[in-house]
């Protein structure tokens, strides 16, 4: 697996006048666990669907394991090597999980019966009940089971833990860490549960209205990103340089700074500002600062530019 696991360049998709994904550029190396974050309708699912040939891009290009999903022959090779858990975990209602496993096994040469049996036991899936009679949580577990037993090199998971109880979420995350992440498999996961993302991901990308607002290593966010709260007149209003977000909260201005927070605070002080706080920022707080809609009188992130394509180490 020497090629980039997932690569997109200027990838865009519009449905009529509605822009779902705009100029998205990603470069995800093999073995990366990439959290793809965004509000509902941000374009996460459309991006994943473009990677799997379910939706054709309007512009730009995508490659999965070096293969082009818009070409049928290459798409088939992608689908043999990539497992997908869709947002809507709908399978054949008449089929039991055992039947679904048998059916799925025939499609994938690297399918593991042992992994499937172990996982089914671990996730406590009732294997002989028709899919339509299972609870939503159990239906999600079946969809995950099918994907995880596939022996795929890349897992594309669209809100994989939606509808699961905390115990099962923990079980799934443990399975991902023990059986997949430890084996160097690439995981591209979207989730609204930022705690889960922090637990398993090493990279995150935050998408808003189809545009990538930020892409960073999670470790870098923990170590470098800071929230700077300042008050004063004539302070910078929008994101620029190291400032990834600038919002107004009454008399205060909040900046999320990606690096050199002390130097940035010094510059603000030189402009006559009072620095009230410089503090580390968690993923949840960062996410909210980036995507939260602001009052009309504040700049918010309306002018935020897409993050440049990061060069992965």
């Amino acid at each position: 697996m020497s090629e980039v696991a997932i690569f997109t360049e200027g990838l865009s998709k519009s449905f009529g006048a509605q822009v779902a994904v705009s100029e998205l550029s990603l470069r995800i190396q093999p073995g990366t666990v990439y959290g793809f974050l965004g509000r509902n309708g941000a374009g996460k699912t459309t991006t994943m669907r473009m990677l799997l040939g379910l939706v054709r891009p309007t512009k730009g290009r995508a490659r999965v394991l070096g293969l082009d999903p818009t070409r049928e022959a290459e798409l088939l090779r992608i689908l043999e090597r990539v497992a997908f858990v869709p947002q809507r975990k709908q399978l054949y209602g008449w089929a039991t999980p055992a039947e679904l496993l048998r059916m799925n096994k025939a499609y994938f040469p690297r399918w593991s019966d042992d992994a499937a049996a172990q996982l089914a036991k671990r996730l406590e899936i009732p294997m002989k009940m028709a899919f339509k009679k299972l609870s939503i949580g159990n239906q999600s577990k079946v969809a995950l089971l099918l994907a995880l037993a596939q022996g795929a090199e890349v897992l594309i998971l669209d809100e994989p833990t939606a509808g699961l109880d905390p115990v099962m979420v923990d079980e799934i995350l443990r399975t991902l860490i023990e059986d997949h992440i430890s084996q160097g498999r690439t995981i591209f996961v979207s989730s609204h549960h930022l705690g889960e993302v922090e637990q398993i991901c090493d990279w995150v990308g935050i998408l808003e209205q189809g545009r990538l607002l930020l892409e960073s290593r999670l470790e870098e966010i923990r170590q470098e990103f800071r929230l700077v709260i300042a008050s004063g007149e004539g302070l910078p209003a929008g994101p620029s340089g190291e400032v990834v977000s600038a919002t107004t909260d009454g008399r205060f201005r909040r900046y999320v700074v990606s690096r050199e927070a002390e130097r940035f605070a010094g510059e603000l002080r030189n402009q006559g500002a009072t620095i009230l706080e410089i503090s580390p920022i968690g993923l949840r707080e960062l996410f909210l600062h980036l995507v939260r809609k602001e009052d009309a009188c504040t700049p918010g992130n309306a002018g935020a530019k897409p993050a440049p394509v990061s060069s992965f180490s």
């Binding site: 997908f84 869709p86 709908q90 054949y92």
Partner: protein
């Protein structure tokens, strides 16, 4: 495995149609011998022995009338499970992320349904023919043995049309209703045009069915509507090809 999935989804309809068709075909075959005496039904084999050829002719026409409708129904029910129906049910994301081409998925479904339709047409009529042969002690019933093939030939374009409508409507129920609608509109418009204008245009693809229906003994084979047969063959392939084209370009 997709073939197994198609079989599993159509299994109930297939068994129901096969049992119904068999029951109807056998009842029609036995009907000429049934007579009522003093409020009791008796079976009199004499009728079969006295007039073997007219009895076989009558059974053929009645089997054709009844099982022709079954052929139409089986085409509708099987066609409504075509891959396009999975767009509505939401299983299409699963199906289209398996490493199989959408072309192979379309034609696998078509092949499975075609086999089921052939069995639904062949088995009951051949059982009826065997029964009739035993009763008349005559195995000269070429038209009855031709009947399942005629039903099949006319049914296959209907299967294709339902497959196409299912892809167009992105729904099984929608495909079924639109196929029934298209056929009804075609029949009504045809009647509206034919009756006042005193026209007699050839049927689109149901010609072989009418040919067998109106068949009298010893009508030469040259009267067979070959044009209609070729149109049936053409449409049987063209409709699923159009469905395949739509599905290949379909997005979720």
């Amino acid at each position: 495995m997709y073939a197994w999935k198609c079989w599993r989804e159509t299994r109930a309809s297939f068994i129901f149609l096969l049992m119904m068709s068999t029951a109807v075909a056998l009842l029609i075959t036995l009907a000429p011998g049934l007579t009522e005496q003093n409020g009791w039904w008796h079976f009199d084999r004499g009728e079969y022995l006295r007039n073997p050829w007219p009895t076989a002719q009558m059974v053929t026409i009645q089997v054709l009338s009844s099982l022709g409708a079954m052929g139409f129904l089986s085409a509708l029910f099987f066609g409504a499970t075509a891959p396009g129906s999975e767009l509505e049910s939401g299983t299409i994301e699963y199906l289209w992320t398996r490493p199989r081409t959408r072309t192979s998925v379309t034609w696998t479904h078509w092949g499975v349904c075609l086999s089921e339709m052939l069995i639904v047409a062949l088995v009951p009529i051949n059982l009826a023919a065997a029964l009739l042969g035993g009763l008349t002690r005559s195995w000269q019933m070429p038209l009855l043995l031709l009947t399942p093939w005629i039903i099949f030939i006319v049914g296959v374009p209907m299967l294709g049309l339902t497959t196409l409508m299912t892809a167009l409507r992105r729904s099984g129920k929608g495909g079924l209703l639109y196929t029934a609608g298209v056929v009804s509109v075609y029949v009504i418009v045809r009647q509206i045009v034919i009756v006042p204008l005193h026209l007699n245009p050839p049927t689109l693809f149901a010609g072989p069915l009418f040919w067998l229906w109106n068949n009298k003994p010893f009508v030469p084979l040259s009267a067979f509507p070959w044009g209609s047969l070729w149109r049936a063959v053409f449409l049987a392939v063209a409709f699923p090809l159009a469905a395949q084209y739509l599905l290949k370009r379909g997005e979720v």
